[in-house]
């Protein structure tokens, strides 16, 4: 029996396994415990949302998974192998705009493709056009970045992250700066892309409804030190309507839990 269980575990390892990750930052003001013994398992094809107050280490965790930063202790495994550097299997959409102003829209999306061997330039252009079409920007391929609206910029960033065909997408508050209409449109788009292209997505947001609408699971963080406090599994069929009553039930439960942590912190 034991052997069988072991065997089963090996066949379906977590796509991403965060194991006891801690990270401290030393600054002039002292030491910040950005992450404290954080563990999180994410299976292939899962959509996981991270929610928590500002400064609880969500971006830091994403950076560590992306391979841009190293944890002080603990490790992150991707397909069972420890992550030590960035890789094209994990693409990141940053909290702030990271589009390159010296390239036009197409150039930005092609940047990651240029680093992929065994593609010629024509193929790269085709792939980039495909993803720009997917995010609804086929008409703006030659635009300069500063000519785009905030929502269009996020779409370009999404296309750029998707273009190298990563299996994991790390998205750090990608839609925070957008109006509700555009956001709802993008919720639909991201779910379609996620299902059609079989991605594993880790999605950071401050918007509880957004998290409940998108995630299979919503993971709650609390700050100082940054820890995972609670997890909510969202058992709703897809595609989900962000304005549905069932979803509202989930989001009010999550909001209540969040408020608890904040008042706890104030009490301390």
């Amino acid at each position: 029996m034991e052997a069988v269980a072991e065997e089963l575990r090996q066949i379906a390892p977590a796509k991403l396994a965060v194991e006891n990750v801690s990270k401290r930052f030393h600054t002039g003001q002292g030491i910040t415990h950005a992450l404290d013994e954080v563990s999180l398992q994410i299976t292939e094809g899962e959509f996981v949302c991270l929610v928590g107050p500002s400064g609880c280490g969500k971006s830091t965790l994403l950076n560590i998974i992306a391979g841009l930063e190293e944890p002080d202790s603990g490790q992150v495994l991707s397909d069972g192998k420890p992550i030590s550097e960035p890789g094209r299997d994990r693409m990141m959409m940053f909290q702030e705009s990271a589009l390159f102003p010296w390239l036009d829209v197409l150039g930005n999306v092609m940047f990651g493709l240029r680093l992929k061997p065994n593609l010629n330039d024509k193929e790269r252009r085709e792939v980039a056009r495909f993803y720009l079409k997917l995010v609804g920007l086929e008409k703006s391929t030659r635009s300069n970045i500063h000519e785009l609206s905030g929502g269009m910029k996020q779409r370009v960033a999404l296309a750029r992250a998707l273009a190298p065909n990563p299996r994991v997408l790390l998205m750090d508050e990608p839609f925070a700066a957008l109006d509700a209409m555009t956001r709802e449109q993008l919720y639909g788009d991201i779910q379609t892309i996620w299902q059609a292209r079989k991605k594993t997505i880790l999605f950071v947001t401050h918007n509880v409804r957004e998290a409940a609408c998108l995630g299979d699971r919503v993971v709650l963080f609390s700050p100082h030190p940054g820890r995972i406090r609670e997890e909510f599994r969202i058992d709703l069929p897809r595609p989900r309507d962000i304005n549905s009553v069932e979803l509202a039930g989930y989001s009010s439960a999550i909001t209540r839990a969040l408020k608890n942590y904040v008042s706890e912190e104030v009490a301390e």
Binding site: A66, L68, P86, R90, M92, A98, W102, L115, N144, E147
Partner: protein, 255 residues
């Protein structure tokens, strides 16, 4: 078109004022020749080839020295921005020497290299190099780190990031540094050409110098005019396209 007409009217008016001043005979015509005389000199000098010859000699020195200065300066600037050791050595040297007016290199160049083309080249390189190093260094330091991080997640290695991300991201700084380097090089070359005779080629500076020796004010003003025109053309041909590109891409330049 409207702007062109405005320019044309302005410069014609300037000529008119000049001509009027000559007619008023406030200064002797030796000191202030009529615009027609200057035009006549320019025409003659253009016809017999002295002007073209001198321009070619000067431009060759300038462009060659400038190119060398940039080819050396760009990588050095990247290096000083990236490595503490380079910053403390080459960086400090560049900062110091950049404050030195580039004309001050002329005496040293003459002692080291004699009255040769190499001396001229050296002066131009010294005029260009330090500005380019400092501008590149400054540009690289001002690149938002998020660009390099984004590139790394897309699989860019450090060298690739330096060439394809850090370098283009600092272009606005680099281009203005190159422009400054050009101005320094151009000024110091003129000073050097006026100051010393190089037998392997008479440049525009020499023409200016001999204009003075011969008390030929029409030649002096004519050559000055050519020097101004070259400066303007260099700006329009060498830098304007870059600046337009940068403004278009970055969305800057409009208020």
């Amino acid at each position: 078109m409207k702007r062109l007409i405005a320019s044309a009217i302005f410069f014609l008016a300037l000529l008119g004022v000049w001509h009027a001043l000559v007619l008023a005979k406030i200064w002797s015509p030796v000191l202030l020749p009529d615009p027609k005389l200057v035009g006549g000199y320019l025409l003659d000098a253009a016809k017999d080839g002295t002007l073209l010859q001198a321009t070619l000699v000067t431009m060759k020195r300038l462009l060659l020295g400038y190119a060398i200065g940039i080819v050396i300066g760009l990588p050095l600037g990247l290096v000083t921005a990236r490595f503490k050791f380079a910053e403390d050595t080459i960086g400090v040297l560049a900062l110091g020497l950049q404050t030195l007016p580039s004309v001050c290199w002329v005496p040293l160049a003459l002692i080291w290299f004699g009255q040769t083309e190499v001396a001229m080249l050296f002066v131009v390189i010294m005029g260009t190099l330090w500005s380019v190093i400092i501008a590149t260094d400054n540009g690289v330091r001002n690149v938002p780190p998020i660009y390099a991080r984004a590139a790394r997640t897309m699989g860019a290695k450090p060298l690739y990031t330096l060439i394809r991300v850090v370098f283009p991201a600092s272009l606005p700084f680099i281009v203005s540094g190159m422009k400054q380097g050009w101005a320094f090089a151009w000024r110091s070359l003129m000073a050097a050409e006026i100051y010393v005779t190089i037998l392997t080629g008479f440049g525009l500076g020499h023409l200016l110098h001999y204009g003075r020796e011969l008390n030929a004010m029409d030649q002096v003003i004519g050559v000055m005019f050519v020097i101004v025109v070259i400066g303007l053309l260099a700006d329009k041909i060498l830098f304007s396209p870059w600046e337009r590109f940068l403004h278009r891409r970055w969305g800057t330049g409009k208020v």
